[in-house]
Amino acid sequence: MNFFKLSPRDALLMVVFAAVVLLAPIWMKPFGAAYPDLLQKFAIFGLFAIGFNILFGLTGYLSFGHAAFLGIGSYTTVWTFKLLSMNPIPAVIFGTLVAGLFAVLIGFVSLRRTGIYFSILTLAFAQMCYNLAYSVLTPITNGETGLRVLRDDPMLLDKALGVVQEGSPIGSFFGINMRGYPAFYFCAVILIIGFFISLRIFRSPFGLKLRAIKSNQNRMRYTGFNTRPYLLWAFVISGMYAGMAGSMLAVTDPLAGAERMQWTASGEVVLMTILGGVGTLIGPMLGAVLIKYFENIFSAFNESALHDMFSFLPSWLETVMVTVVHPFVGEGWHLTLGSLFMVIVIFLPGGLVEGATRLFKRRKSDGVTNKNSGSEN
């Protein structure tokens, strides 16, 4: 079972993860989430959160500015589309690299501080990026309207190779248009690779060092160990994950807007990670899926949809149910989200994964055992 040097359990985890992701269009159906756009978002924000977790989960450094890298990845990708080619490969590579470059700069400065000071530094950099992109940098970012690919853009590489697209420009993976399910599978493959890398980092000596920094950085330093380069690496890697996620946002939908970099977007990935379980492998992915699910599905229930949903009930009960549920869906989906945050952190500290682990342990103590469900955190 020497599957990329993974232990058998990890190899199994990898396979299960890949299967669950690739089969999402099927098993998501009953939840009403099996349509390409939402599945793409699951994969993209899952990747974003997995990358964020490499920094936050392993080192304990809470960055409040990771959305900046997401935005930079998106802008770079759209510019690559505009200047070079609609092929997503160079676009994703450039997006990831440029985001990594910014991560080096911001990380180098921010990592001079720890704790909440580090959080505020990253927040400050991200807010500066957002504010400038929205206003002064409009020539580069196209401000509020968002940067788009236009048909008369140079696209030098495509022109040189004679690749011609009809209609509005869209990312094209050697002839496969990056829309719908093909785009989802493109994202899914990158997500799986990203998850694999994250798994390898978690299991590597590097990951161990990062954890050691989290548990007691001073002790590490006293032993003569220079923690800074390791932290910077973790920061840059997670910044590149964010950049890659941003790139994929732009690949599946060639438009980059500044609000992707706002602090609320940075906050969102923090919430995703905590919600799912900080420092666990799979938790951030779960958190991302849950939050995006709420944003897209819960916000869509309106009163008439609710009436349809409860129409099997007697009419008085239907009215009661609709009245009870209505404040929590549609325009009230924020209320559900807020309550969910509170409930989970109060009753399941450590997030969803810990909740699942506890549930599993209880079942185990009841004498129910299942070899395959490993607790992974």
């Binding site: 299967a19 939402l38 968002g146 509005s168």
Partner: protein, 450 residues
Amino acid sequence: MSKKVSQPNGWTRRSVLKTGLGTAAMAGAPMFFVRNAHAFTNDPSSGSTVTLGFNVPQTGAYADEGADELRAYQLAVKHLNGEGDGGMMNTMQPSSLKGNGILGKKVEYVTGDTQTKSDAARASAKRMIEKDGAIMITGGSSSGVAVAVQSLCQEAGVIFMAGLTHSNDTTGKDRRKYGFRHFFNTEMSGAALGPVLESSFGNDRTAYHLTADYTWGWSQEGSIKKYTEALGWKTNAAVRTPLGAGDFSQYITPVLNSGADVLVLNHYGKDMVNSLTQAVQFGLRDKQVNGKDFQIVVPLFSRLMAQGAGENIKGIYGSTNWNWSLTDEGSQAFVKSFGAEYGFPPSQAAHTCYVQTLLYANAIEAAGTFNPCGVIEVLEGFKFDGMGNGATEYRAEDHQCFKDVLVVQGNESPSSQFDLLKIVEVTPRAKVEYSPTMEGYAGDLGECVA
């Protein structure tokens, strides 16, 4: 990780994976966005219903405006399905609407939350198209969102009937074949306000602009400058303010000593409420400069938002797309219908959304097909009346509606809490018309593919 792999019937992991992939590929078969010569996205011909997608801000600063838009949409759906009193369906001319749905199919709708963010709005629109099978998307309370969703709809081959969006770009350089706007724009605001400002304040004025620092703000600043400078006004300064600044005091104090005697607030929504409230607090309206009374102008008014500014709005000039106090037959029918349903009058956002829905349905009836290309053909150059704005035309070149523009003033003695705006002039359509290829405005519609 608590997910389990159960392997019943002796399936190997590999075969599960293979089969799964195969099924997944099949599930992906009804590919969206793939169009051939005869099919178009979400063709409802085979079903008994037709689904419209209402994409409005339900959270964030414009949630109340979004809620009002949604009310208007629901009312329009009712009327289209032959319920209620029919509202403007009775006054619309020419009308092919029959009150039995659209082409005999019952109208249903799905809703989504744009959050006033391009990303969220596009995600929500995509859900409606990909999952709910919406054949038309409409709504919005910001130009950035409208432009973003409009270009998405073009790619998806779905018609977009813009809601409240005021920037020139929506039907200017970002115009799209599949996108239509009934609402007016900054160019028209400028053209309509110009003469009124001249007659009220004269030709010898110096203006100071405070402009929200993003594309819509720039668009409006440009238009107002263009038309006031044509009157002989001077522009003292045009200062950009960050979006959502909250406290504008540091931008307002320089106005005091600038020598300007008119302050133009190119702000919308919350920014407008805050900057206007604070400008009045700083005593700008009690000031005398160059021997003239200092004046404030808010080029785009929204009655819903103006409520937040309270007393401060009294006497201030601005423009609006529509106001419920209009007395023409169409407006009255709509206000009556809306008022009976919800107990208060509709906002301009509600009006434009309602009209857009009816226009779309009517175009399908007239075209006799749901095919967007047919619908676009009908809407391009479509002339109609009885929808509250007088004789109106959807110009074919840029898909912008041309109609009279209302110049309004904050009401000094409102008769009710809704009576905030007084109409001072109805600027005729001919005065606000401009060339579709005007500089900085020209764009490319693209093609209809189906």
